[in-house]
Symmetry: D2
Subunit: 265 residues, 4 copies
Amino acid sequence: MIRVVVTGAAGRMGREVVKAVSRTPGMQLVGAVDPGHTGQDVGLLAGIGPLGLMVRDDLANVLRETEASVMVDFTTPHAAVANIKTALACGVRPVVGTTGIPQEEIEELKKICREKRLGGLIAPNFALGAVLMMHFAGIAARYFPDVEIIEYHHHQKLDAPSGTALQTAEIIARSRQGGPAEDRTEVEKLDGARGGNLEGVRIHSIRLPGFVAHQEVIFGGLGQTLTIRHDSTSRESFMPGVIMAIKKVLELEELVYGLDKLIFG
Amino acid sequence: MIRVVVTGAAGRMGREVVKAVSRTPGMQLVGAVDPGHTGQDVGLLAGIGPLGLMVRDDLANVLRETEASVMVDFTTPHAAVANIKTALACGVRPVVGTTGIPQEEIEELKKICREKRLGGLIAPNFALGAVLMMHFAGIAARYFPDVEIIEYHHHQKLDAPSGTALQTAEIIARSRQGGPAEDRTEVEKLDGARGGNLEGVRIHSIRLPGFVAHQEVIFGGLGQTLTIRHDSTSRESFMPGVIMAIKKVLELEELVYGLDKLIFG
Amino acid sequence: MIRVVVTGAAGRMGREVVKAVSRTPGMQLVGAVDPGHTGQDVGLLAGIGPLGLMVRDDLANVLRETEASVMVDFTTPHAAVANIKTALACGVRPVVGTTGIPQEEIEELKKICREKRLGGLIAPNFALGAVLMMHFAGIAARYFPDVEIIEYHHHQKLDAPSGTALQTAEIIARSRQGGPAEDRTEVEKLDGARGGNLEGVRIHSIRLPGFVAHQEVIFGGLGQTLTIRHDSTSRESFMPGVIMAIKKVLELEELVYGLDKLIFG
Amino acid sequence: MIRVVVTGAAGRMGREVVKAVSRTPGMQLVGAVDPGHTGQDVGLLAGIGPLGLMVRDDLANVLRETEASVMVDFTTPHAAVANIKTALACGVRPVVGTTGIPQEEIEELKKICREKRLGGLIAPNFALGAVLMMHFAGIAARYFPDVEIIEYHHHQKLDAPSGTALQTAEIIARSRQGGPAEDRTEVEKLDGARGGNLEGVRIHSIRLPGFVAHQEVIFGGLGQTLTIRHDSTSRESFMPGVIMAIKKVLELEELVYGLDKLIFG
């Protein structure tokens, strides 16, 4: 039985983690930490009925008393770094989805893990499907240098392109051999019709109500196209990745960055 | 039996028309005209084996001798206008796919048809699916003001967006009630990522080898999207529209512009 | 200002209606009825904060006291019929999304509406996009007799094909001229690979976690395909249809069945 | 400069190979063999204008006189085995797309290659995109056990499902850990709606005019789907795979079966 403590337990992602861990065989939710919600039943917060487990704000004590194996953290960069350090000091392995942790902090945390021979994971994207899409795009780019990306998000997203689209384009640009595909002369009758251009990879951003988060990577070759598409319709899509990480960090002896590293080495 | 004469019979579209008419029950190919290929068997030119019908260059004689009912013309603007006038003088109904005929010529041809009470059709796009897509887009735009267009063509196409995409956007803009959908503030991290903008309709042009000619019109609403997509993979896609037009012009007493008018009135 | 009363206000659909009506300019939520939740604030139930409007169980009184113009009902067949009769007796126009009302009850309700010259609507599907998809499919089938349907739903849906797929196939079969498309000889190496067959329209049902409710109608012709696709990702997708219906029933003098009738006559 | 001889040079695939090799830098078409077309210019047969290279029927002589490095064979099983043996006897490496060669013949050819330390490739599918699709499907199946396949072909294809779909399903079934995904109870209102079932993988075959050869593999997980799609629109799609193989067999010292083995080892 893997004993799990969740930090940021009352947040949007934290509540999903509470639900996911509670219903996974072989795991037990043994502690929940969230300074703003101490004393509340974490099951009620997550909408799955009372679990008899109250939210606390003293992480170190919780980790020790519960003899936790893994801490899952979806909080803020500042809080996450402190939480990870506390966990490592207690010999507990961190699985972290908090984004925006500075690179130098990550390096320091890696060093601590190496010294203590403790496994851990920090990943900006826990959606297995998105991770696979990017991995496959990197492989396909070796054989199909001509490629464009279309990403579809709800109309309230304020930035374009999405972070995932930019990251995918970077992976493709690095993977493509012999430089980007040849540029063709064009008459662009409408400014912007051919999309944005990141290192020779065209990116098109669709914004419409009704979409959640979707991306298509289209590779073109003589007489054929190969398309890899990921559709995400809810926050639940991150949970299988989190559950897998909880299991895998137990076998690690270092801090890994990126779910893809955990999967593809 | 509808007796059909084809002009521009040795051209890429003309040969398709020869094939299509030859295999359509209720129609007979009675004449073929193409100044550059006189004396050649039109069936051999079209790749369907000898038909015993030789290409000629004297359209008026061909139309009279064969007692033709309909002339199908895919040639050049200049040749087409002359051919149509010859046909009308002989009481033969024209079905014309030649693009680029000047508006004033079309008006004059319309006048001749009205006087002679002869039906005829000039259409820039004979692909039934594309015509239906544009028709449906016009209807859907009344209920879903939020819409974007993605068009996909082979990488050797030099202009973007495609003519069909621009025409679809115009139909949507005219059909949409109460002005274009509200514009949202955006951080465009990559110039052009949000596509081109024609009267508030975003258009995205994908150019990759492996594509032929494809278009998607995506309407977004609360919790739903409605997508209309047309995929064209060969020149044959125009033939059902040509065959339909050959039948329908027999019932007309005027010159109609656009296959959509023939279909939806 | 259109004065609206919602029945089944605490149900899944009722709560969406409460939210939608509350935020629509030109409409006012004046009453909410749901026998199991009397005394509760309907805004709190709908998750949009207190509205100061309490749920009641005496529909006739609510309709009279609030001088309602329209009643929206998403309940059960039995309750719906009673609610509609009460509404009509009070001169209030019903907009009804309850499914399963017997045909003979509908006929009787139609008769009452005609006598009282009161407008009303009963519709099994309020998703505008789905209604448009079916309408377009009926038109396209006249020109493309070759067509197949693919529907995608979550893996917990117990029946296949979906009701919408069956209804779409029926519309296509009625609309298609000259009988269904010719049947080709086949070697079906795997039983069921070619899908179900409703009057010559093949239907394929995909069941996977990650899907909500999606349908694709694909028409094939020489060298081209035309695809109409509807994606529904949340119950909200029904609300624009409900709001449209609330406005349109005010202009009606009879009971209409099906949102398509309201839209396309 | 890689010196290439093409057998079956006048066939549909052979002519594509002639075109592809002729326009690839670093390669030279030095011989063409096809018993039914001896004495004809192979460039004229391929539709690319005269190459001054006549088709012959004496393969052994051609291979020796031209000092060929690679022989490309798209013929029939019987002819292919003889051609490969002739090639190996002359120290020429075979690249073979002929399908249906019996397993015992392949084993014998493998033995000859090992003894002579000569590289060679026999592959039933040279479309790089299809090979990648199957490879990716095998990887994704480890993380997403729930998966269905949809394949789309022209209406004249007589068998269903396609060979590629069956092969993909087998790859998925082998790759999936812990057995196939749980089977849910269903009410199949229309027989066959849920498709064919190969070792727990559902396959749906669409047959419509307008399609060429397309396949979609859809993986479903909590709140997400991952789709891998290959669209093939012409025989040209096999050429990049053939060209790659011509280069790679020069580095091999054994006979490899399947383009995937060449790519992914």
